[in-house]
């Protein structure tokens, strides 16, 4: 069979451009702000125009060539390969451009505006935890003790939040490492409880968390919410503020959807921080799969070479891979390796919801970002009222993955963190 190299490249480019267009239109339709090519929030009109233009351009360009009209050229199988690779490349390019433009936006937004004084906290690096402490410790009950999320971006969010707090209020922000957060969420840590950890951090930072306002950020909010009673016993907090906790759907797992506002780079960073290659279950699966792969790939390659099939050295191992994955799935299921699909998160999150909706001696205020709000309302609207001491706020214009986006985001955060009840409310 003749190969039409030039057409292969052109067909690949056609699918790449057309798929980019389709992804942009669908991202606008779904409100996937994380895939916004120009960073920030998706403007539907812009995305529809951009996507449709790419789609129309790809058709006009490809079919304007007489070689692509009623002439024998690229064959069906190669077209399928081009379709698959073109879509894959378009997804990768979208991910890359969206991540880079969002990183640029964050960097530009991070610079303090003229006349604005940034509070520069000192950082203490302890084992399994980083503590940021702002200079000065205010009146009892006015200071903030915050628990944030692990990682570089968790620290950046914490620093931005600290800069919103007036200098007469003290702030101590505890950022547990991923492993520490996981073990604290699982309620079993070799170093002690959350209360012990916070007390130790306070001692090292030279501040007393007793009777202060406690603030949880994201997964840190889940941790504080699940340990409310422990905190009451240990510190008698004035209030508990929970900003964008990860909300549970008791039946399906988590309510939040990372595709809505996290960029692909954010998602990748989260996954890498979790170090999935260290996961025992995944390693057992890999150990079960690899011998099967060898067992399938060797005869498959021998067969493709013997039968003189095209790209025999590629198609053979590929066939072996597909068959070995198929076999490995059933082998793993027989051995019970797939019995528990769920990670620890959904269970933890479900526990969070039960605790939030139950009675408490601690005044709590919960702000939910708009990525979660729609699903949250649909599920829990009937149980919305009568939460006792817990007040919920749905922040319609705030995205979990782009928390400081929008002009009023900082104002809203200031209101939420203020000692009095001055936050604007959207429901």
């Amino acid at each position: 069979m003749e190969l039409f190299h030039e057409d292969i490249l052109e067909t690949f480019l056609f699918f790449f451009t057309a798929a980019m267009g389709v992804i942009q239109v669908m991202a606008a339709r779904r409100g996937w702000h994380g895939l916004c090519l120009y960073g920030g929030r998706i403007r539907r009109g812009v995305n529809y125009v951009l996507g449709t233009s790419l789609l129309l351009f790809s058709y006009a360009w490809y079919f304007s060539d007489p070689l692509h009209r009623n002439v024998r050229n690229i064959e069906a199988l190669m077209s399928m390969v081009c379709l698959f690779l073109g879509c894959l490349a378009a997804a990768a390019a979208t991910a890359l451009v969206a991540s880079v433009s969002e990183a640029v936006r964050r960097r530009l937004r991070r610079r303090p505006r003229e006349g604005e004084r940034e509070r520069d906290p000192r950082a203490l690096r302890l084992e399994g935890v980083t503590v940021l402490v702002a200079e000065g410790w205010g009146r009892k009950g006015d200071n903030l003790v915050a628990v944030g999320e692990p990682g570089r971006d968790g620290e950046r969010v914490a620093r931005r939040i600290i800069s919103l707090i007036p200098p007469d209020r003290g702030v101590m922000c505890v950022l547990p490492a991923r492993s520490t957060l996981s073990s604290l969420l699982e309620e079993a840590t070799p170093t002690g409880s959350l209360a012990d950890l916070l007390a130790e951090c306070g001692r090292r930072a030279g501040v007393d968390p007793q009777g202060e306002v406690f603030l949880g950020l994201g997964w840190g909010a889940n941790l504080l919410a699940s340990r409310g009673e422990e905190l009451v016993d240990a510190f008698r907090p004035a209030r508990l503020l929970l900003l964008a906790p990860v909300m549970p759907d008791a039946e399906k797992g988590l309510l939040g959807d990372a595709f809505l506002s996290q960029t692909p780079a954010d998602i990748l960073e989260c996954l890498l921080q979790e170090e999935p290659w260290r996961d025992r279950r995944l390693r057992s699966l890999a150990r079960a799969w690899f011998p099967l792969f060898l067992l399938c790939a060797v005869p498959a390659t021998a067969a493709t070479v013997a039968l003189h099939l095209r790209w025999s050295l590629l198609s053979g191992p590929l066939l072996g891979l597909v068959v070995s994955l198929w076999m490995a799935y059933y082998a793993a299921r027989r051995r019970g390796l797939l019995a528990s699909q769920a990670s620890g998160e959904p269970e933890t999150a479900s526990a969070l919801w039960r605790r939030l909706s139950g009675p408490s001696s601690l005044p709590r205020r919960v702000a939910v970002a708009s990525d979660d709000a729609e699903a949250l309302l649909a599920l829990y609207a009937p149980a919305w009222s009568g939460q006792g001491e817990t007040s919920f706020e749905l922040w319609n214009a705030v995205l979990r993955g782009k928390l400081f986006l929008g002009r009023d985001a900082e104002e809203r955060l200031r209101g939420f963190l203020a000692p009095g009840d001055t936050a604007p409310r959207d429901v």
């Binding site: 067909t11 699918f15 057309a18 798929a19 389709v22 992804i23 669908m26 339709r29 779904r30 079919f63 692509h68 009209r69 009623n70 024998r72 050229n73 690229i74 069906a76 077209s79 399928m80 379709l83 879509c87 964050r106 937004r109 991070r110 944030g148 999320e149 971006d153 968790g154 950046r156 969010v157 931005r160 994201g218 997964w219 964008a244 399906k252 797992g253 988590l254 939040g256 959807d257 990372a258 595709f259 506002s261 996290q262 954010d266 998602i267 989260c270 996954l271 994955l325 198929w326 490995a328 799935y329 059933y330 699909q341 990670s343 998160e345 699903a375 979990r400 993955g401 782009k402 928390l403």
Partner: protein, 202 residues
């Protein structure tokens, strides 16, 4: 029996192919739909739309499963088609008859029609998964199949054969779920993991 069926097939072909050459606009339109690329590529992109069109996470998981089954159906239909080609060698209409040929002369066997098999596999598989969105795959499949007969490169029987092969492939891929289950589970596990990576960002 077979000769009677072939006779009916040729009569139908003559009627449809006889329409060619009467109106330049219709001929051009048929050439457009007969094209090896336009309809299959559009249908390929429609699969991408199908994958991304869900309303929520559960919808996306269902669409992911549909696309995996669709790929499985395409693989099965291709295997069936290759098996048929081993045993059935039917020449193209322009080899044995005087036809109005509006297309280049394909060199492979006529039965079953490759484009009909491919496009109808997309349709049947998509329709079996999603009774609403699946219908979007039917008009291009019908138009392309009709255009292939109109342009003189296939008999109607080839198209019907392709449709039967497509139906068999799609039905089996959906019926024998143990074939696709591992790949559906893997795709859904990856999707679920990616979407659960929630964190606060600036």
């Amino acid at each position: 029996m077979l000769s009677w069926l072939l006779k009916i097939d040729y009569t139908l072909f003559s009627w449809i192919n006889g329409l060619a050459g009467r109106n330049a606009a219709v001929d051009t339109l048929m050439k457009v739909f007969c094209n090896d690329h336009l309809v299959p590529y559009t249908i390929g992109l429609l699969v991408l739309v199908m994958l991304l069109r869900g309303r929520d996470r559960s919808g996306d998981r269902a669409n992911l499963a549909s696309v995996v089954r669709l790929i499985m159906a395409l693989a099965l239909a291709t295997v069936f088609m290759q098996l048929i080609i081993v045993f059935v060698h039917r020449p193209r209409p322009f080899v044995d008859h005087e036809v109005n040929l509006l297309f280049y002369r394909p060199t492979d066997w006529s039965f079953p029609s490759n484009p009909a098999t491919a496009t109808f596999t997309f349709f049947f598989s998509a329709w079996l998964s999603d009774r609403r969105f699946g219908w979007y795959f039917l008009p291009p499949a019908l138009l392309m199949s009709f255009a292939r007969v109109f342009c003189g490169v296939h008999y109607p029987g080839d198209v019907l054969g392709g449709m039967a092969v497509a139906l068999a492939g799609a039905y089996l891929a959906h019926r024998l779920q143990f074939l696709s289950r591992p790949f559906v589970a893997m795709a859904q596990a990856v999707e679920s993991r990616l979407r659960s990576s929630l964190s606060l960002r600036e």
